[in-house]
């Protein structure tokens, strides 16, 4: 079975970058880079909302260290707050 994925990269004039990999089943992995925290939140939340249901998040280790939290703790915080998007560092 072929597993061809589609790879896309987007850039913005403020330097923010978004990499997307769309798997053969349509599921998407989004990576936002070089974006200040608020920009990252907005970009991530906007694209996630258009695409579908979030199945997992993986945070920048530096952001986690700065927050003193694990990925699970961040996810629980987001769920409790009822907010989409992400901490984004």
């Amino acid at each position: 079975m072929k597993t061809n994925a589609i790879h896309l990269t987007f850039k913005r004039t403020d330097g923010a970058e978004v990499e997307a990999t769309i798997g053969p089943d349509g599921n998407v992995t989004l990576t936002v880079r070089r974006a200040p925290a608020m920009t990252c939140r907005v970009l991530t939340a906007t694209l996630e909302a258009e695409l579908g249901d979030i199945t997992a998040r993986k945070y920048d280790p530096r952001a986690l260290a700065a927050a003193g939290m694990t990925e699970e703790q961040v996810d629980r915080t987001i769920v409790k707050a009822g907010a989409g998007g992400s901490p984004c560092g």
Binding site: K2, N4, I6, G26, T29, A37, T55, P87
Partner: protein, 134 residues
């Protein structure tokens, strides 16, 4: 800082889904309902009601494919099992539903990114040097 999210695609935009159908059935006649409306006519043996887009069987495609709005607001395929099996066989194991979701996500991302002020700088589907080309 960077952040990675895995998203399970849910097709909700009829225009993106119709564009995906156009990718999968190049040259096929595709009827798309007006925004919020339904396709009035369904083709062939397709009996799905509430279709938002229909690809008409033509030539080598030998099949009719409809997209219908589900109860949860998502858009799903309405296609007979014979067509699904034939499509999978003819496309090296790739399923019609999977390919529709992939192409729909592709169009959704490009549209949403543009709206967010992002410009496309790389697309593996138009770069022949990339192995992952569709």
């Amino acid at each position: 800082m960077s952040h990675q999210t895995m998203v399970k695609t849910k097709i909700t935009n009829a225009d993106d889904a119709a564009d995906a159908l156009r990718d999968l059935y190049p040259g096929a006649a595709i009827d798309v309902a007006p925004r919020g409306g339904l396709v009035a006519k369904l083709y062939g043996t397709q009996t799905a009601s509430g279709a938002v887009a229909v690809a008409r069987a033509v030539g080598v495609y030998r099949e009719d494919v409809a997209l219908t709005r589900q109860a949860d607001g998502s858009i799903g395929l309405a296609v007979d099992s014979g067509t699904k099996e034939r499509w999978t066989r003819d496309h090296d194991g790739r399923t019609l539903a999977g390919m529709l979701a992939q192409r729909s996500a592709y169009h959704t991302l490009r549209r949403a990114a543009q709206a967010a002020g992002l410009a496309l700088s790389y697309d593996s589907t138009v770069d022949p040097t990339v192995a992952g080309r569709v």
